[in-house]
Symmetry: C3
Subunit: 397 residues, 3 copies
């Protein structure tokens, strides 16, 4: 059994004040010459007031997690590569300043600037009217806001754990509760794990239904890449069974679906929906390759719990967000009502939990990018790769 | 005149920082050998961040009040008896994280887990469309959210007072303002008072209309009991003139109205409405008796200002909330529009205030519970005790 | 070039904690015998919790600015004259406690009590349904809440600057961002400037469109005066080309438009709309003159960017707000849809900014008030001063 150092960073068992805290080899000697560190600090001013951040640096890759925003990953750095994007929302916004239902359910867009942002848990996707039960157990029509609540719920507890034995994994574990009386009670337990010196990290999330009755659940990882990785000529790699454009607008760009254009003021977003293909261990990998072919970022995910994938192309002017989203999900982001009709909404029994598993990696040489490409091509060989030339009524409304 | 020690705990005159503060006989010698104490602390992490709590311990009973949530009482302990319940909402939620109008006006349910939670002051009860005046003095239809705002408004000032002379009362006084321009301006002054060594405490609330024009006001005390006091076979005692089921669902359980069943997954709530009977001093008492008959909790209230009583039976699975509410109110919780039609909404003249008075007690022996039962039966003798076998259009819509 | 002392009070570059900070001649000797000072402190308790205030005292006039509420000016004192008013909202409300869309879009009224409150930036004025673009660039009907967001957005950075050379100006510069993805991204840079010993200060605001596409923008300065400056018999001075009552209710008081009545319980507000006249340097001045004629307050503004003016008369009972608003704006506060139809909504090109310039002054002797009156009369001589006897369909819907 591995010996482990553990410390509560946020929550009832935490002894840390809200201010700055830094932790590294000078406090915990792992007997290895890697400049790892963990820091926690609190933002001040504007809509950032009180937002807490935790940065995990494994010596090569540093990852900034925001417990205040549902354990989302704000950005990361690996060698010289920044992972993330520039949103017109420049502040890391405290949820108290947001109003999700406002503006036709688009309030979420007032805080959207993470690299990796979870959407869910009761629902995700486009704002839509759907049916829920009220306090009397009666069906009631209500409006589900864009992408749900989880990105705007603060973690009730956050723990750091450090393996004292090789390969010396650093882990950040956070619990976020999305619970109300007479409604969903779902608990996300998020584990972000990285090894010293690695150019990757893994996210293992567990979502548990705390109720005594079955509960629908949706979860999507909105992983967003902007410059410098995203540039004109960048390429998307993903192995798939079939894919289709979401709407007429996306159909316009179908031929170019796996290539990215230059920034274009007023660009209207295009979404493509995929049924991703996986290897025998149910692993699929999507990647964004920089035009030069010497750098790429990838996300590998388990298709047993994340069987759908959305590509979001939003290559507008940098001032408005020049960005693409690689989005593994339990379903597509069409709004829960449509997804339920298409049997893509998962229902958790009482006490049941679902476990997602994703690895985000950076590839920093032509050779590494080549191996990545081969891995994805190998998976593609076992699957159709059908690109539908028209809209697919099964995949979008 | 009683000599009094006073201290501002929250507000402009407070010298206390937000962090922990404890106060007891070692700081203020009352010359009596009772281990009383008062503590204040602030919660950290999740939706609890920044929530302040004050615990008053009279040496026998300890009462946890939440100034951040409108001076609600989170829970209390008397000897070994816990008063309160387990809500699926496990955090004590800061109001900044709630959105009352969302989900058809049910946003309040995202923070509901108090033992004693005030509902009001502009309105309480079911979400309902009603008419208010806008800034131009014109009638406007708007949606009043479930149970109003008061439970999610922080107290602007909180004072502790300790009587230096016997019987050494401890008092916690909080002011909460529910005010807007061109709308209601109501001030709640809440006083919670307990004597050293007592198994009870009293709440005296004053609600004042600060406007120059008449203002409607509603106030209901949502006192919620779960295990261990509530168990299969527990009994409700209340003297009444008449009572009726709220709806068809409640009618199903009419015969068993004063008995509680075991936890039942998917149980749909049942509400019963009472016109409580009182003694000559206008005091009525409702009680929840543990099946063994050796423990009970009761609330005694002045029916001149709290002339209505609601019993809320919600004996679902413990994970969803196994709970019953004993709810004295200025009206029934049907939504303000219906209550106004039935002339149960109180209107306060300019500068007028209404004063409610309630005593919560714990009874911890067969003898005490017997006396309690007798007291209630004696009141019942002077009143009809009519159980209506059908729905009553005067009491529910 | 003037030598300048600079200090970051709020934001990433600030080294100040949230608690109290005071700064004056004992820390920065300007070599002049004026008791100037700058203080920053944080409010505690109730809906004020965490609200930061900065008071600039130039030795004669002290001005309290609230960075947490969009750099609004809470109140000011000049000699013995208080500038501001008593709202039924007595707390300086933290935006986290407000819900702008609630109550038919009137949520803003729950925090309204500033002396000078900015309305805007995406829109201001009456709540109204209007069209915006959603994330897919599709037109969507949405509800714009009363007076927009800017008064409830905290400043992300605040700087103090002090001129080391005469005339020793004190400046407070704040940046507030009103930004979302797929929506408006407007930055307000607010500069409040006052000279040592002056009975006036200047506000120079810049609003920049950060997007790559044109963006509509509205801005109005809601400057509100109550007692003691406002009393029965107080007089409004403003030079204008034309003016009209907003509605039937205002028409009732048309003859008395420039005089104020005594407090009247239940008084319904009256608004008058002006096209103000200006001198050759495009400066217009509106003033409120105390009945005695020995005290007045005025606002001088540049009509090139603030070409419209609203007079708000709201002389209700002091408990409900006895107040008048002098409101220079980029448009009238009718709701954006109507103002757009009438071509009064300004559109900013990508990167374009608009700069407003206002000076607030206090006049404290009969001679000074006389000069003020003459200045305004001189401007009026060059303009029509047409009072429309009926409603004007160009000015109000």
């Amino acid at each position: 059994m591995s010996r482990v150092y553990k410390r509560c960073l946020i929550g009832e068992e935490s002894l840390l004040a809200q201010s700055e805290w830094a932790f590294d080899a000078s406090e915990l000697d792992l007997g290895i010459d890697v400049p790892w560190s963990v820091e926690k600090w609190t933002l001040r001013g504007g809509r950032q007031e009180g937002v807490e951040l935790v940065e995990i640096d494994n010596g090569r890759m540093s990852i900034v997690v925001c417990p205040t925003r549902g354990m989302g990953v704000i950005e990361a750095w690996c060698d010289d590569v920044m992972l993330g994007w520039q949103s017109p929302v420049r502040e890391i916004v405290h949820p108290a300043f947001l109003n999700l239902p406002e503006r036709g359910g688009l309030g979420w867009l007032g805080g959207f600037n993470e690299w990796i942002c979870r959407c869910g848990l009761e629902s995700h996707g486009a704002p839509v009217e759907d049916v829920v039960l009220d306090n009397q157990g009666t069906e009631m029509r209500t409006f589900l806001p864009l992408h749900g609540r989880i990105a705007n719920l603060p973690a009730s507890s956050v723990w750091l754990s450090v393996d004292l034995d090789p390969p010396h994994r650093l882990r950040l574990i956070g619990e976020v509760e999305e619970a109300m009386m007479f409604g969903p009670a779902l608990r996300l337990t998020s584990m972000l794990e990285t090894e010293l010196g690695a150019a990757s990290f893994r996210i293992v999330d567990t979502v548990e239904n705390l109720r005594s009755v079955p509960q629908e659940m949706q979860l999507l990882y909105h992983a967003n890449f902007g410059a410098p990785l995203l540039e004109e000529g960048a390429e998307l790699l993903i192995p798939f069974h079939r894919m289709a454009a979401r709407d007429q607008r996306a159909l316009e760009g179908l031929e170019m679906w796996n290539r990215f254009g230059a920034a274009e003021a007023g660009f209207r977003e295009q979404c493509y929906f995929f049924q991703p293909a996986a290897n025998r261990r149910h692993q699929s990998t999507a990647a964004l390759v920089h035009p030069g072919g010497e750098t790429a970022a990838s996300v590998t995910f388990d298709t047993r719990t994340l069987p759908w994938f959305t590509l979001w192309k939003c290559t507008g002017d940098p001032r408005d967000g020049y960005v693409t989203g690689l989005e593994p999900g339990t379903s597509l982001p069409n709004g829960r009502r449509f997804e339920r009709e298409k049997r893509r909404v998962r229902t958790l029994d009482p006490g049941e939990s679902v476990r997602t598993d994703l690895t985000f990696s950076v590839h920093t040489s032509r050779a590494e990018v080549g191996r990545l490409r081969k891995r994805i091509e190998r998976i593609q060989k076992s699957a159709d790769g059908r690109v539908e030339s028209a809209l697919d009524a099964e995949l979008s409304p």
